[in-house]
């Protein structure tokens, strides 16, 4: 029986946790503790040496976070996962685990604005050069690879342009170059797309979004696909004795989850971007309904996109779920259950009409988050992508009139009513 391959919905609810052997607790216990008592001096030493499995200190590991991590690893189809303090921390950790000064990253140019800045400013400050490429042609990644490149990076569905990556084509480029492909799967979640099944090697998620699902907690997670040969000569940090961890060779010792272990004990342990156990609990709970929520997010978003597409006050709608989107075919291939619930549109009347629209909505919340049960609206040019100059904004798909919405779980007709009345006001202001 235990060899049964359980379905995705079952894993959303059960992966990573069986009832607590001491108390019988069925729900995931919240281990709100800093540290853990050792059995003996020898036991403590064994734990620090990584000779024994066990808990040392919550900055490095925590049983509640362990449930969240294992559940994410199971849902993404990876070998192990590591929870981190935010999505930004997850992607930074995914890179620092295998890249040092002098290495290069080739990244999609269509990224969340904060990610773009992290790569363009912070990584460069550390001596890691980043080349941004248009991800719509996978060959652009190949052309930018040099002998110093150690990873490719892209988002499944980019924020906010909404372009869908041809993961298999880019994974092939990465494989041929002997470097891993890192995918940010935040907008799709493992319910809509499992990048590892398409050849990605490492997946990061901002858990803050659909995984949490209720806009309560900041967090992130990285998943080790367990499918990259770290001993190909390009990654001595995975195969040579570790300076930071008394001579351990991570790939040799931990095999197909060695990357996740190195991320934990050599990056998280010393950089300290740990996730709160309480947030892990909330994310674990969020995952239990991820499948149901994503179905509703997707169906409502598609209806709203169609409504906006036919609306006289709307200039354009950019949503891969619509048949006329240039990304519709890729979306059907990689996200057959739905194209997500985050998309952009342009109001007739440009930036002023867009501002009036955002000021006039009653039910949509004006804020910079996505993937909440509540419907959200934002103006990327003045918020999420504000640190980018106009040219960089254009390359990330942000024009002055672009409005981004994240469709929530409210009554669909109420959401349509809200946008309709706000669009009417936006056009009056223009006149």
């Amino acid at each position: 029986m235990s060899d049964r391959k359980f379905g995705f919905d079952t894993q959303c609810i059960h992966a990573g946790q069986s009832p607590d052997p001491n108390t019988g607790s069925r729900a995931v216990p919240i281990h709100q503790t800093t540290a853990y008592v050792f059995d003996s001096a020898d036991h403590a030493a064994s734990l620090f040496n990584l000779e024994a499995f066990g808990n040392i200190y919550t900055r490095i590991m925590n049983p509640t976070s362990g449930v969240f991590e294992e559940r994410m690893a199971a849902l993404e189809g990876g070998t192990a996962a590591l929870a981190l303090g935010s999505g930004m921390a997850a992607q930074m950790t995914s890179i620092l685990t295998i890249m040092q000064t002098g290495h290069e990253l080739v990244s999609s140019s269509t990224l969340y604005g904060g990610t773009y800045t992290q790569f363009d400013v912070n990584l460069r400050e550390m001596g890691i050069n980043v080349t941004f490429v248009d991800p719509n042609d996978p060959e652009n990644f190949r052309k930018a690879i040099t002998d110093k490149t150690r990873a490719l990076y892209a988002e499944t569905v980019s924020n906010p342009l909404g372009n869908v990556l041809d993961i298999e084509a880019v994974a092939k480029v990465a494989q041929e170059a002997g470097i891993p492909l890192i995918i940010d799967n935040t907008f799709a979640t493992p319910y809509l797309c499992r990048p590892i099944e398409h050849g990605a090697n490492i997946v990061v998620n901002s858990a803050t979004k659909f995984i949490c699902g209720h806009g309560t907690s900041i967090g992130g997670v990285l998943v080790d696909g367990g499918n990259f040969p770290w001993d190909n000569g390009k990654f001595p940090c995975m195969t040579e004795p570790s300076k930071g961890y008394h001579g351990i060779k991570f790939y040799e010792t931990f095999g197909n989850f060695g990357y996740a272990i190195r991320a934990r004990v050599e990056i998280l342990r010393t950089h300290g971007q740990a996730l709160s156990p309480f947030n892990s609990f909330l994310f674990t709970q969020g995952l239990e309904t991820l499948n149901l929520r994503m179905d509703r997010h997707c169906s409502s978003a598609l209806e709203i996109a169609k409504f906006l597409n036919d609306h006289p006050a709307v200039e354009w709608v950019n949503f891969a779920g619509l048949p006329d989107s240039p990304y519709h075919e890729l979306s059907k291939k990689y996200m057959p259950k739905g194209a997500g619930s985050i998309f952009t549109f342009g109001v007739k009347g440009g930036i002023e009409a867009g501002r009036t629209l955002i000021n006039s909505v009653e039910l949509f919340s004006h804020l910079v988050n996505v993937g909440d049960a509540k419907s959200l609206i934002a103006h990327p040019a003045s918020t999420t992508h504000r640190q980018l100059n106009e040219e960089e904004q254009m390359s990330a798909g942000v024009t002055p009139e672009t409005v981004r919405i994240s469709v929530g779980l409210e009554t669909l007709e109420d959401l349509i009513w809200d946008l309709d009345q706000a669009l009417a006001k936006s056009q009056k202001a223009k006149a």
Binding site: L50, E51, G54, G66, E70, T79, A80, E252, T253, A260
Partner: protein, 150 residues
């Protein structure tokens, strides 16, 4: 042969492990695994011609010199070195041939199976023990265990 049920049963049923290629160097994977298994109640018999004693246990130059019954022969050697070790495992009446992470030899495995031994390949005894009997999920590892039983 490598189903979760089989691996779980092997680790539950058999308690004596001869570790071929066990290193006396404390930060080598073989030493990690053997020390861990010893701490979890398994009898460890080191097999390595280079040592007299490892982990406080008498070390033997080969499987054939071990004077007591062996359940599991755990192999920490390169894949190409596996066949003669499997021959010895069959000769001493071991129950299981266990090849560690990245160690695989299908022909030798087949020979062992034909002689009535169970075979596990490309797995770590320590990781598999942690997977089924606690500990490892605190490190975020996907154990593939789903159950509503305590």
């Amino acid at each position: 042969m490598q189903s979760t049920d089989t691996i779980k049963r092997i680790l539950k049923e058999y308690k004596t492990i001869a570790v071929v290629g066990l290193s006396g160097n404390w930060n080598r994977p073989s030493h990690f695994a053997a020390k861990y298994m010893k701490a979890h109640g398994y009898k460890i018999i080191p097999v390595n011609p280079g040592y007299e004693e490892i982990l406080g246990e008498k070390c033997y130059p080969s499987l054939l010199e071990i004077p007591e019954p062996v359940d599991i022969v755990d192999i920490f050697r390169r894949s190409r070195d596996v066949p003669p070790i499997v021959d010895d495992a069959i000769e001493i009446g071991a129950k299981v041939v266990w090849m560690q992470l990245t160690v695989e030899h299908e022909e030798a495995a087949q020979k062992a199976r034909e002689a009535g031994l169970e075979v596990v390949m490309d797995r770590c005894v320590k990781i598999e023990h942690g997977r089924f009997f606690g500990g490892i999920n605190f490190l975020g590892v996907n154990r593939g265990v789903i159950t509503s039983k305590k």
